[in-house]
Symmetry: C2
Subunit: 163 residues, 2 copies
Amino acid sequence: MQSPIREARDNDWPQLWPIIRDVVTEQQTMPYDPAMTEQDAKRMWLLPAPARVTVSTNRSRVTGAANMYANRPGPGSHVASGSLMVGRHARGTGVGRALATDMIDWARRSGFAAIQFNAVVDTNTAAVRLYESLGFVTLGTAPGAFRHPTEGFVGLRIMWLDL
Amino acid sequence: MQSPIREARDNDWPQLWPIIRDVVTEQQTMPYDPAMTEQDAKRMWLLPAPARVTVSTNRSRVTGAANMYANRPGPGSHVASGSLMVGRHARGTGVGRALATDMIDWARRSGFAAIQFNAVVDTNTAAVRLYESLGFVTLGTAPGAFRHPTEGFVGLRIMWLDL
């Protein structure tokens, strides 16, 4: 399935929020506060430039989203980071790969030396396999750092891609 | 040398700011924006509760500072993190150890399962040795993730202490 990626627009938010809300309330793939309000989510996700926010679409429907930015300021600003989410009904259709590939392209052309993901849930095998297939390696795993609703305390991987 | 630790007070700021400013402008030990203003620094460092901010003192003089908080929200909130800084004139006198030991005590009595330091500069051997002597291990190192003014691109360690 095609998953064209474009930069997010203000009027994407009504379609973005349900995707983020699902991820936040499921508490299976990202360490976010489950009590996050829509306003908190908007502030957290729609980061101002030089950060970049993208969406994947299928016709006019938003199927997933990513954001990307320097992982740290100052002496750490040559390493990018980011997050990506796929809408519940679009999982397993290549949306994550399209969003991640676009993020890598952006980081490379922006002059970043690497991408670091700081907290990839170890039991999120779809994400781990996707990132590994794109060349990411695991630098280390924070043991039991994520409280999974059904799997208990699971690791958070720090993943890295040299560009 | 004794280095009593206490919670920071509003009127500590005039003594805290020069310590933070040195660390920020030296760019040798922490990945902060070197253009950070005093107001930025105050907002970054003096985090509101449930975060905690401490200072080490020698008589009435502030010699160093630490802050500490949950490393992540929601499903990651059982792991603590924090930062510590030692004033230029107090380095090598046990201030870092006193601040770190107090942080560990706080994390333990607050019920955290572990402490994660996300970005320990690999060439900051004083910090690495101190943390290792307190039981921290290195989960992994982000290669070349810190642009050191004299050492070039050096690693950022992710360090971890089980409590």
